[in-house]
Amino acid sequence: MLNIRCPWCGDRAQIEFSYGGDGSVQRPRDPEGVSSEEWFEFVYLRENAKGPHLELWHHSAGCRRWLLVRRDTVSHEIDDTWPAGVGPEGAAE
């Protein structure tokens, strides 16, 4: 069971969270403006990363906030977490 650091609540056990998919996927800001191929990729295609992987988790049995987690899919090491909607890029800005 993973130990996940919620940006609001601190270190919490995995059972308090639910997984929410690939955190690197961004919904197109203007869906009408993208091609069908791009939309198809957004809806269906996901990388099966070996190594560091950006993931969305929901602190569903906690503060109900969504967060971004960078987890290594090989070692399961989590090196950082961010509030979703901010994310590594937002944090760097």
Partner: protein, 998 residues
């Protein structure tokens, strides 16, 4: 009764003042407090404990701890019966009842032993080879195999004991309380860290308990006692005795099974039998020691063949003589100390056979000389002699390094054959931490290399052999884990003896046609089985394991693993590191399911949710159905009434008069903020911006792939406040879904939301007389047709309780939903029933509710909204907003959604007007075709309509076949039923929708 013929007069850690009566296979024996079942049986000269897994060969006690592969017994009886326990770990308690297993009809005369005689027909993988054909017979074969090759029997009654769980955090968790574990815990605790020390034995000391070492000139157990006292005294240390660390999971989560009452006849009042600890440790120090390795020679499984370290423990810890006359067979120096201890314990040690041509270190040689024990170097045991137990050994000189014995064979008499093939560090938990192992050719063993987790190894598991080295390693790893500076570390005491094992590997002894040479005693895997597997190309260690079952027993190959893969390496002509090891997985030691389940059994398996009106439903005689975790009334049967009659009565009463149904289980979400209307437009497919304050609207949410996700009504309570309802089934999912879009996708929108599902009790008052009932009780608002029009919203009070009134319908009749704070739910419910008494109001359940909604053609999540249907399929295409973005909109352009054969929601009635349409039936055009049969659709909901007095159904049928009046067939091969049906409009009652507006 003085049957303890093998008990020594003095010594040991047993309490001779506390004799304990126990029984084995119905015979009464006596042991002492401090004994294990194994030591007590040995004291009573019981040497045959069980029959082996596959060949039903007689087996005795081989080890002294969790490594025991043979001595599996069943304990207790009735509801507390427990199979497959290692006699070496069962603490003796007064009245203990044990029985042998895997034998029939008795241990001494076992019919299954015929397997041993026909064993050349039972090679490795014989199940796969023999029982292949015909495939349909496998089930029959399997039953016979299961009976013949088995472990104990499970208990057949419910477990009466309690189990509990604890979660804990600590800075340093030390596993194993031997010399290095104690040293590690002591040094970590001195730095102030919160330390847990867990050990599977009832007392601390580990290997020191079975030895006669001295530390700083005093008995080692004095040192153990002083460290124990220091740890007990500290409030930053928790000692867990009788606690097996069985699992090492991600991020240093450690699972421990603490046996709190297994050493008692029954647990004390309110005492749990076992406790599962889940400990999140900042750092883990593994001081799990090492387990002695057996040697592989013919008939090495006879009762009386025993690990040298185990024999030594029986003498030193339990004051039991494990045999009268012993031969010791070793490839290392540690067994010499064992030989000397055995001699001092009154065992006549006839001979030590050492496979190393150069023999032992001088100090070990001197031990034997002082004891007057003969020693032959460069020799090996080729075969244990005897039937049912060791009566002697056959041995001879080793030819060269590969274990071949040639030349003259000799015999020696003995009833105990102690074997020592070196030491296997107990790396299981390190491997579970996803740590890698490295092979150390000097020790002939795998040692911990590196792990991605915060773990270190101390003492014998890390390869230490000398006692002083173990303590030094423990002190160092403990201090490092506890963050203690180098200068403040404790000093290493003087230890005696302080010898190395100097192991020279001997993987197997071979001599022509001597008999079975066992590698895995628990699973009956021989060296010949491994050779066969290699000949059949199972050359990978993982394949070998699965094909031969080597190391797959409950002992996880503690004694067999390294010998097995070394033999494989020899056959392949490879180095051992190239062959590698298999991966160890939890549990390290078997854990009873009760411990894993804890309190979550029976009625406590999952939470049950009750609506605020539950006590009424119970008193009214409702039968209940589960909806997720909710309990909902399905119908309220009157005395003498059948289930179906009750449902029909309730459904008719709503259409003709008035009924009341509990809908508190709906998901309810309160949304507030400047951008809520815009947000709803993005998460629903329909319009919200134009919804006026005080009005409700039905909405459908899509998923991004364009399929329908959930539906419900949402009410605009204020300019920037909406009250949204979801289906019961999707309440939690919809909440997470909305939070996702609000927080992740459109964080710039000002939307606050909270689930208020549990805060509001909800009920629907439905039927042509519903307004009459409502207007009698509601105060503070106008509930007339004009005051509260169709899809209108109002706030008022009922019997003083605040209520939210929504004029909306699920049944198709004039209807109101009434929501009130949960604590008032029962009072408001009762007030409505009281007010409608003269109008013959009925409470109705989910069954009648379903009948009514099918009559009205209302779709529901799970039946019509099944994740494969679009809004267009369901007939709501006109709801789709054309302008602006919303979740799933872009996917509506998918070519598949334009397919003219997409399903369409239709109604079905049986052609004969009376045959029930089978549940889940497929729609076909031809009632008796030859396969493959084109499927034109399926029945999504079906019922009998008491109002139309005919069976009806809703179905999703390919559009070209969905025209009104078309005749089709509803076929259910499962129910062997085909019903001729006619396509109708899906709304069977009031298709114009006049009733709710009236």
């Amino acid at each position: 009764m003085s049957g303890q013929v093998n008990r020594l007069e003095a010594g040991g850690l047993i309490d001779r003042s506390r004799p304990l009566e126990f029984s084995f296979d119905g015979r009464a024996y006596t042991g002492y407090a401090g004994d294990t079942l194994a030591s007590a049986l040995l004291a009573n000269d019981v040497r045959l404990l069980g029959r082996s897994f596959k060949y039903h060969r007689p087996r005795g006690i081989f080890g002294a701890g969790s490594e025991e592969p043979n001595a599996l017994v069943q304990l207790r009886s009735g509801s507390r019966h427990e199979p497959n326990l290692r006699a070496t770990q069962v603490e003796l308690y007064p009245g203990l009842e044990a029985r042998s297993q895997n034998r029939w009809p008795s241990l001494a005369f076992d019919v299954g032993a015929v397997n041993n005689l026909v064993s050349r027909f039972l090679p490795a993988g014989f199940y796969y080879k023999t029982f292949m054909w015909p495939p349909s017979w496998w089930m029959r074969y399997e039953q016979g195999i299961r009976r013949a090759a088995g472990l104990g029997d499970p208990a057949l009654e419910a477990d009466p004991d309690r189990y509990d769980k604890r979660y804990a955090h600590c800075d340093v968790l030390v596993v194993g309380a031997g010399a290095s574990g104690l040293a590690a815990a002591k040094s970590a605790a001195r730095g102030g860290s919160r330390v847990f020390l867990a050990d599977e034995h009832p007392r601390l000391g580990g290997g020191l308990l079975g030895e006669r070492a001295r530390i700083d000139g005093a008995p080692a157990l004095d040192w153990v006692a002083s460290v124990e006292a220091e740890l007990e005294d500290r409030d930053n240390v928790r000692l867990l005795r009788r606690s097996s660390v069985f699992g090492y999971y991600d991020h240093n989560l450690i699972a421990i099974a603490e046996r709190r009452a297994d050493h008692l006849p029954v647990p004390g009042p309110k005492q749990s039998r076992q406790r599962l600890w889940l400990v999140r440790a900042q750092r883990v120090v593994l001081a799990t020691g090492a387990i002695e390795r057996p040697l592989v020679f013919a008939a090495n499984d006879l009762p009386g063949v025993m690990l040298a370290s185990a024999a030594r423990s029986y003498v030193n810890q339990f004051a039991v003589r494990p045999g009268r006359r012993a031969v010791v067979f070793t490839n290392n120096d540690s067994a010499y100390t064992a030989a000397a201890d055995l001699r001092d314990g009154g065992v006549d040690v006839a001979l030590v056979l050492d496979s190393r041509p150069e023999g032992p270190a001088a100090s070990q040689r001197r031990l034997l000389e002082e004891a007057g024990i003969e020693c032959l170097t460069g020799h090996a045991v080729t075969k244990a002699l005897g039937r049912g137990g060791v009566h002697g050994v056959e041995y001879g000189p080793l030819q060269n390094g590969d274990g071949t014995v040639a030349g003259m064979l000799h015999r020696a008499e003995c009833d105990l054959l102690c074997v020592s093939g070196g030491w296997n560090p107990t790396v299981h938990l390190f491997s579970q931490s996803r740590g890698s192992l490295r092979y150390d050719p000097k020790r002939g063993a795998f040692l911990p290399a590196s792990s991605p987790q915060a773990v270190s190894a101390a003492g014998a598991v890390a390869g230490a052999e000398r006692l002083s080295e173990c303590i030094a390693s423990g002190l160092e790893q403990g201090a490092a884990a506890g963050g203690v500076a180098a200068g403040e570390r404790a000093k290493v005491p003087d230890c005696e003896p302080d010898t190395e094992a100097a192991t020279k590997p001997l993987w197997s002894v071979s001599v022509a046609s001597a008999g079975k040479r066992f590698v895995d005693l628990q699973n009956d895997v021989t060296a010949e089985d491994i050779a066969l597997a290699v000949r059949e190309s199972y050359r990978s260690v993982e394949h070998l394991k699965r094909y031969t079952t080597l190391g797959m027993g409950t002992d996880q190959g503690r004694t067999s693993n390294v010998n097995g893969l070394a033999i494989l390496a020899g056959l392949r002509g490879d180095e051992i590191p190239k062959v590698g090891t298999t991966t160890f997985r939890p549990p390290y030691t078997p854990v009873t399911l009760g411990t894993l389940a804890g309190r979550e059994v029976g009625a406590d398996f999952a939470p049950v949710r009750y609506t605020p009106m539950h006590s009424f439903h119970e008193a009214a005689g409702a039968s209940f159905t589960t909806a997720g975790q909710w309990l909902r009334p399905e119908c309220y049967r009157r005395p003498g009434e059948s289930f179906i009659d009750a449902v029909n009565r309730e459904a008719k009463a709503v259409r003709e008069g008035v009924g009341l149904v509990d809908v508190s289980t709906l998901g309810k979400i309160d949304l507030q903020g400047r951008d809520v209307a815009a947000f709803l437009e993005r998460v629903y497919c329909n319009r919200w911006a134009n919804l006026k304050v005080g009005r409700c609207r039905y909405g459908i949410m899509l998923r991004e792939d364009g399929f329908a996700f959930d539906d419900g009504t949402t009410t605009r309570i204020g300019e920037h406040r909406f009250y949204l309802t979801t289906t019961t089934a999707r309440a939690a999912q919809v909440m997470s879904h909305l939070e996702y879009y609000a927080q992740v996708v459109w964080p710039e929108m000002e939307v606050f939301m909270t689930s208020v599902s549990d805060q509001w009790a909800s009920m629907a008052l439905a039927g042509p007389r519903s307004r009459d009932v409502l207007s009698r009780v509601v105060e503070g608002c106008d509930a007339s047709n004009d005051g509260l029009p169709h899809l209108g919203y109002a706030e008022g009070t009922v019997v003083g309780a605040p209520v939210r009134l929504f004029r909306m319908t699920f049944s198709g009749e004039l209807a109101y939903e009434i929501h009130t704070p949960a604590d008032y739910g029962l009072a408001v419910w009762q007030a409505l029933l009281d007010a409608g008494k003269d109008l013959a109001i009925v409470p109705y359940g989910t069954e009648a509710m379903t009948v009514l909604r099918i009559e009205k053609g209302h779709v529901v999540v799970g039946a019509e909204i099944d994740g494969r249907t679009t809004v267009e399929d369901l007939g709501f295409g006109r709801m789709l907003r054309q302008e602006g973005d919303y979740v799933g909109k872009r996917s509506l352009e998918r070519p598949a959604f334009r397919d003219p054969n997409r399903p369409k929601l239709v109604g079905l009635v049986p052609s004969d007007g009376q045959t029930r349409i089978p549940r889940g039936a497929q729609i076909v055009a031809d009632p008796s075709p030859s396969p493959p049969v084109p499927m034109l659709g399926h029945v999504s909901s079906q019922t009998y309509s008491p109002n139309l007095e005919t069976p009806i159904a809703l179905a999703l049928v390919q559009a070209p076949y969905a025209e009104l009046g078309r005749e089709l067939y509803a076929a259910s091969p499962l129910q062997e039923q085909t019903v001729k049906v006619v396509v109708s409009h899906p709304v069977f009652i009031d298709p114009e929708g006049h009733r709710p507006r009236g």
